[in-house]
């Protein structure tokens, strides 16, 4: 059975471009059959060819099924980074996080900042970009209605629409910019195995605290070869061995 599958995969990979699509449906059926290891291999092969949030999400699901919370969270995080507004991704990520050891009190800060973040994360870069084009088109239409409208009411509506849409065009582009920055930002990582966080970048350093599989950390200093300075959501910082983590 396995042999046939591997032959099939080989055959499909020879086909080239369309291989990814077939590989995905094959991987999905593997997942459905409960062969999570094979599904993982296939999803990873697809990701070598290109990038897509759905693949990361499915890969995360496969790892979750194998109780590998570290990799599950890593891939959910990657998926969420690409599709921040996707409800499935967000739900599975939250569920996987609830199964991790570290329960770190996070200080989200001011509620307006939190609201803004969640609003910004309701769409990804390109969705904001498309929205900005839409706003621009509406703005131009508003100008036309204002200039050539026969009736006064139409002209008033056209004027206000143009002003509002002009403003929104800017705002949406700024949002797209912020999302892109967040998306390309690689200063976050997920802990892959239990790690002792040291006060200094050396094995002899004092142990400050321990982090366990699946915890998200922010990278402060990644300039050293083996050690990374990290910060966790409650504000504590320390040095962690690079091998214990995986960058999102």
């Amino acid at each position: 059975m396995k042999r046939i599958f591997s032959l099939l995969i080989l055959f499909l990979s020879l086909l080239g471009v369309q291989a990814a699509e077939i590989q995905k449906s094959l991987a999905d059926s593997m997942y459905a059959a409960g062969k999570y290891e094979q599904a993982i291999t296939l999803y990873q092969k697809i990701l070598q060819q290109g990038d897509n949030a759905t693949i990361y999400y499915n890969l995360g699901n496969a790892y979750y099924r194998l109780h590998d919370m570290g990799h599950a969270i890593l891939n959910y995080e990657r998926a969420a980074n690409r599709e921040p507004g996707d409800a499935d991704i967000r739900f599975n990520l939250a569920l996987a996080r609830s199964k991790t050891v570290d329960k770190i009190e996070s200080n989200d800060g001011f509620f307006l900042v939190y609201w803004f973040r969640s609003f910004l994360n309701s769409m990804n870069t390109d969705q904001w970009g498309r929205l900005s084009i839409g706003a621009f088109v509406f703005m131009l239409s508003g100008v036309l209605v204002y200039v050539f409208g026969r009736r006064l009411l139409f002209r008033k509506i056209g004027f206000f629409a143009a002003v509002v849409m002009f403003f929104l065009t800017f705002v949406f582009n700024i949002f797209a910019y912020l999302q892109r920055k967040q998306y390309l930002d690689n200063t976050h990582a997920v802990v892959m195995e239990t790690s002792r966080i040291k006060s200094s970048p050396a094995a002899s350093g004092t142990v400050l605290f321990s982090l366990h599989e699946g915890t998200k950390v922010k990278i402060l200093d990644n300039s050293m070869r083996d050690w990374v300075e990290i910060k966790i959501s409650d504000g504590k910082t320390g040095w962690m061995q690079k091998t214990d983590m995986e960058i999102i």
């Binding site: 990814a20 699509e21 995905k24 449906s25 999905d28 997942y31 697809i46 060819q49 290109g50 990038d51 897509n52 759905t54 693949i55 999400y57 499915n58 699901n61 496969a62 979750y64 499935d88 739900f91 599975n92 939250a94 569920l95 996987a96 609830s98 870069t125 390109d126 904001w128 970009g129 498309r130 084009i133 621009f136 088109v137 131009l140 100008v143 036309l144 200039v147 050539f148 797209a176 910019y177 892109r180 998306y183 390309l184």
Partner: protein
Amino acid sequence: MDIKKLFLIVILLLAASPLCAAVRVIAHAPETVAQGEQFRLEYEVNTQDVKSAQVLTKIPGFEILYGPSRSSSYSVQIINGHQSSVSSVTYGYTLMARKPGTYVIPHITVNVDGHSYASNSVRIKVVPGGGGSSSGNASQGGSPQPVNSKSSVGHISNKDLFISVTANKSQVYEQEPILLTYRVYTRLNLRQLAGKMPDLKGFMVKEVPLPQQKSFSIGSYNGQNYYTTVWSQYVMFPQQTGKLVIPQIRFDGIVEFSNPNVDPIDAFFNGNSGAFERKKSVISPSLAVMVRPLPSKPVNFSGAVGHFSIKSQLRTLHPRENETLDLQVQISGTGNVDLIKVPSVNFPGDFDTYDPKQTSQSKLTTAGMVGNMTIDYVAVPKHRGSYTIPGIDFTYFDTSTNSYKTIHTAPINVDVAKGEKSIYSDKQKEILARSDINYIKTGVVNLHHKEDLFWNRSSFWLYYLISLLLFVAVFIYLHRRVVQRGDEVGQRVRGAGHLVLARMKKARKLMQQNHIDEFYDETLHAMMGYVSDKLNIPVSDLTKEKIVDEFLAQQVPGELSDHFTRLLSDCEFFRFSQNKNELNSTESVYNDVVDVISKLDSILKKKKK
């Protein structure tokens, strides 16, 4: 007897009782003596009000050399204004042991203020007299004197000071404690001795605390009498199996000699006692112990070896949902209490469990460790209801039966009440309530490059450009149309004169062809059309009154206005009249219309300018 007197007596009795209770008679004698040695037996009564004491005349196994002698002492102490006095009476006997063996000296009774008190009895061991030691230098009193060797002063042989090692068992199981005893034998005045058990690989070693002040007693070894004492004791827990060797230990000692060549009087006055010290190292022998492995271990073996009991208790009296619940398990007994692996508790699935907290208390005794381990299991029930925590199994190796034993605790029923607080937020609850992930997304996906974003690429801005171009195009088109529409009106106004001329030409043609009806019709149209175009009023809205009003507004002279309306009426009239032969009239109408219109046109044109 009245009640008051009775009370008084009771109170007096109560007050007197502590005094009575405080009377004690204690017998003092050395534990071990050598045959033929003289020693002292004393009975001490801690009060001076002794009326009489029983006199011993015969003690089995001993010869009474002297006694009883009575001596009394009294001392007063004042500390911080508190005065306390201690007084005692001592009855002393000097005895000598006749034969080796163990003897019990019976208790005596003492009469104090009419009450009689009994002393404790004393057990004395008599060892065979030997060596050159005690018989000659009979010691006075109970305290042993250093036994000087017959060999030259300052020289110490291995027979004068040595250490023996004994183990209470030569064959043990893994983890089963062995008691190791180091005993010192000496004939010298030993001042100091120090030696420590090194760290051993195969054993966990614990030293039994012994009093710092060693009390020597007389004991025999290989038929020789020595001063001897237990110097140190260790409890060894074997961690490995096979033949384990306890190595030799080096003890460093200091021995004091008195120089017999020094005159005691001279020594007293010159401060030179003649005593000198010598260092001496003693090596204790090594000892081999056979450690047998435990028989094949059951799966749930806790690692405990010894003898234990277990009990469990629910510490939380009223468990509530989302609140911690404390189950305490106590394992107590003799054995390696500190090394017990915590047994697992199968809490119901609806409980969140946390790492148990364990504390152990143990005391080292010569039988091994005696103590208990307390394990606190913390769990949080998530929902209310009735649950049963199953009994806990604890398997250990029983050294008394040399077999594994499993003991259990009783199952515990827990009634979890509704809790007030919730440790989870609503969102977390929703997540936890659905304990499984959402399914994978099936269907076709588009792969792209990670850096490949639509936003801010040239194609993105192209959309802006296209919409802008489209906007400009639409703008230009609409603008043109507006301009065009404006032109049409002007043309109509300007072209009104030409139009009316064209129509009048047509009317004239009709007149020449003698189509009278059509002529009037055309003329009427020409006039109406002219006015409509000129005044920019739809034909349908035109009435004579309106025309007059408009002409007035355009400052057309009244006679011209009248003429125009009259001609309109004429045309309408002739159009429907039967009299169509008046060529003259048609001719004149035609000329009049042309005349009036040309006049009007010139006026309206002027006005326009």
